[in-house]
């Protein structure tokens, strides 16, 4: 009797061992997808290499960089022909930078909304990892969720005045300014304040323009904002409520999308969808098209899915959650929707996997060296969900005629040293003198990257070209023509004033909007 018992027990043990071996073997096979020697440049450009997705991840790739901050005198490293200085320090989680028509720079600082519900055991583990990656260290969190104004009155690239314009906001991210009105995208709505350029405080109560999808979950909470070239519409990004729809599609209503909001009425519609976590909304001055950087999904292997930047077409569906880069189906999402996958379009330019692209700014009209004269800077906060680090830098992608044309080049690096993060680049902007601003939400610093030859103030001013592009777009739209003309005139006046104030140096900022945008937690992942 005991003999047969042992036999049957042994048989069961052997069979279970066989199953385990099979699983581990297939899991290993999947891991062949990546690893250290993978050439990430294969995933940069309009037609990225996409390995087979790896659905069986017993232990998803995770490599988290400890945040150690910047020691006195340390800075990121910049490419030849550039110089970098700290524009502002002692910020608290700076996310986006936005330059006003008079050259004042707004720095939006924020932290994720609190009390996010936890649905699965995994959520607790994930939050713990994310907190580690965000840094912060010991001690009580400093107050954030504020907008700070930085003023460089003599336009020498050094901040002369600093004022906290707004405080106690609800996880703000995107901002836009037009017609003496400052729009702020908080975690669950777009609000507006009356604000005249040059003021140092805002005491008025905000007005809600449009509610946006918010909590309690609000997984990707950063709502970025951009103003249409004709000044009539706001575009707000709304990230998804999950990695790959694992909270159900009912949690995704109105999300993973870019909303178009009528500035006059607050009426809104979905402008484009299937964009998992869009940020960095900004208009290309050459083509007049809306662009954004998008964080794609995780846990399909270290080299899927590449984050990307793309022009955002009206009414387009970009795949999330059902597919990526066109018709590459994500089988995790069930039931599948082949009808939607058939509609999904591929984005314009992949940036490689898990770089966490959150900032985007076009260099047209900025006072950068010729090598960066007409393209886009892309801020990449850096990976944690990959077995080798990727991102942690600002890249430059050259454009021709409003379309990406060429390989991305490293411009600002040195955020990651010996697998420790001194900082993490997030939002980008062009300051009032035409230099690049890089917000560093882990290093709590705003960096200024300028041409090394000191030609900053003598750089050509391309705001005319930007205005021309805006007018061209406006002309296309007969319905709003009259209204827009008025606004364009207003903008011109503003620019004239600024020019007279500013010695011989003309402002480089396009109109009112230079919205860059950025990042957040997560996940981004």
């Amino acid at each position: 009797m005991m003999i047969s018992n042992s036999l049957s027990a042994r048989a069961m043990l052997v069979s279970s061992a066989a199953v385990l071996t099979l699983m581990l073997a297939s899991s290993d096979a999947g891991h062949a997808q990546d690893s250290g020697d993978f050439d990430i440049t294969r995933q940069i450009g309009p037609d990225p290499y996409l390995p087979e997705p790896q659905y069986l991840n017993l232990l998803p790739s995770v490599k988290v960089a400890e945040v150690i901050g910047w020691a006195e005198g340390q800075t990121p490293t910049v490419a030849e022909g550039l110089t970098i200085t700290a524009y502002a320090t002692d910020l608290v989680n700076p996310r986006t930078v936005h330059t006003l028509p008079n050259g004042d720079v707004l720095v939006v600082q924020s932290r994720a909304p609190e009390d996010k519900p936890q649905y699965r055991p995994k959520d607790f583990i994930r939050n713990w990892i994310m907190a580690f990656a965000a840094g912060g260290g010991t001690g009580p969190d400093r107050d954030t969720n504020l907008i700070t104004l930085l003023r460089d009155t003599d336009r020498d690239g050094v901040v002369d005045e600093r004022h906290d314009l707004l405080t106690d906001l609800h996880s703000p991210f995107g901002v836009a300014w037009i017609d003496d009105t400052l729009y702020v995208a908080e975690a669950d709505e777009v609000i507006s304040y009356p604000y005249v350029l040059g003021e140092n405080t805002i005491t008025a109560e905000p007005t809600t323009l449009t509610p946006l999808p918010g909590g309690p979950l609000n997984h990707h909470w950063t709502k970025d904002l951009a103003l249409s070239p004709d000044g009539t519409m706001l575009y707000a990004s709304v990230g998804s409520n999950s990695n790959a729809a694992e909270n159900g599609m009912e949690a995704e209503k109105g999300r993973a999308a870019i909303w178009e909001i009528d500035r006059a009425t607050g009426a809104s519609r979905i402008y484009a969808s299937g964009l998992r976590n869009p940020n960095g909304l900004t208009f290309n001055p050459t083509s007049g098209q809306l662009w954004a950087v998008i964080n794609e999904r995780d846990e399909l292997g270290p080299n899927l899915v590449p984050d990307y930047m793309t022009s955002v077409q009206d009414g387009a569906f970009y795949g999330w959650p059902y597919s990526y880069f066109g018709d590459h189906v994500d089988e995790r999402v069930y039931p599948p929707r082949p009808d939607l996958v058939a509609e999904a379009i591929a984005p314009d330019y992949a940036l490689s996997s898990h770089v966490a692209a959150l900032g985007l700014v076009f260099t047209d009209g900025a006072a950068m060296p010729d090598a960066y004269a007409a393209g886009a800077f892309v801020g990449q906060r850096g990976s944690w969900n990959r077995d080798e680090f990727n991102g942690y830098k600002v890249s430059y992608v050259p454009f021709t005629n409003g379309v990406p044309d060429g390989m991305a080049q490293d411009v600002v690096t040195g955020f990651l040293v010996n697998d420790q993060a001194r900082g993490r680049p997030v939002g980008l902007g062009i300051d009032g003198t035409g230099a690049l601003l890089v917000s560093d939400d882990a290093g709590n610093t705003l960096w200024r990257v300028a041409a090394a030859d000191g030609s900053v103030t003598e750089a050509p001013v391309d705001s005319d070209r930007i205005t021309a592009a805006s007018e061209a777009v406006v002309e296309d739209d007969a319905e709003v023509e009259a209204e827009t003309e008025t606004e364009v005139e207003t903008e011109t006046e503003t620019e004239t004033e600024v020019e007279s104030e500013a010695d011989e140096v003309a402002p480089v900022m396009p109109e009112d909007e230079t919205p860059p945008a950025e990042p957040a937690p997560l996940p981004q992942d």
Binding site: S8, A9, M12, L56, Y119, K122, A244, G248, R332
Partner: protein, 143 residues
């Protein structure tokens, strides 16, 4: 009048308090995982998959406590281990742990086919363990 048969041969065979309870709790959690996995497969409602994740976690916690109590009683020499049963139970916990990692994945492919497959395998091994336990108990030689 007189008790005809005691479940345990001698008093030292009586398990440590809690060992039996936690063993059964663990078995119940892990068996229910198969039910909730099946419900997810049928409905595609992700709530069921989340239930499975929690059931696996609590099954492992209860199983872990039971293991601890068992090791203590082993150290106290309160029983002689039935190694085939021990092996099966260990396999159950190991597979449930792997299943828990699998269930931490997102969406359909974390359950179908491997997740629910492992849940079913866990149940089969627990059945085998129970059968062996039953035989061992009733075939125990009288002392």
């Amino acid at each position: 009048m007189t008790p005809t048969r005691s479940y345990y041969g001698v008093s030292s065979d009586i398990p440590l308090p809690g060992l039996t309870t936690f063993t059964y709790f663990s078995a119940a959690f892990l068996a229910l995982t198969l039910v909730t996995d099946f419900a997810y497969m049928q409905t595609t409602v992700l709530m069921w998959k989340d239930f499975s994740s929690w059931l696996l976690l609590f099954g492992l916690i209860a199983g872990g406590i039971a293991t601890l109590l068992w090791l203590i009683s082993l150290a106290l020499k309160r029983h002689r281990p039935e190694w085939p049963i021990v092996g099966l139970n260990a396999a159950v916990l190991i597979i449930a742990f792997i299943n828990s990692l699998l269930h931490a994945g997102d969406g359909w492919t974390s359950v179908v086919p491997w997740g629910i497959g492992l849940s079913a395998l866990t149940c089969l091994l627990m059945l085998g363990s129970a059968a062996l336990r039953r035989r061992a108990t009733y075939n125990r030689p009288l002392r």
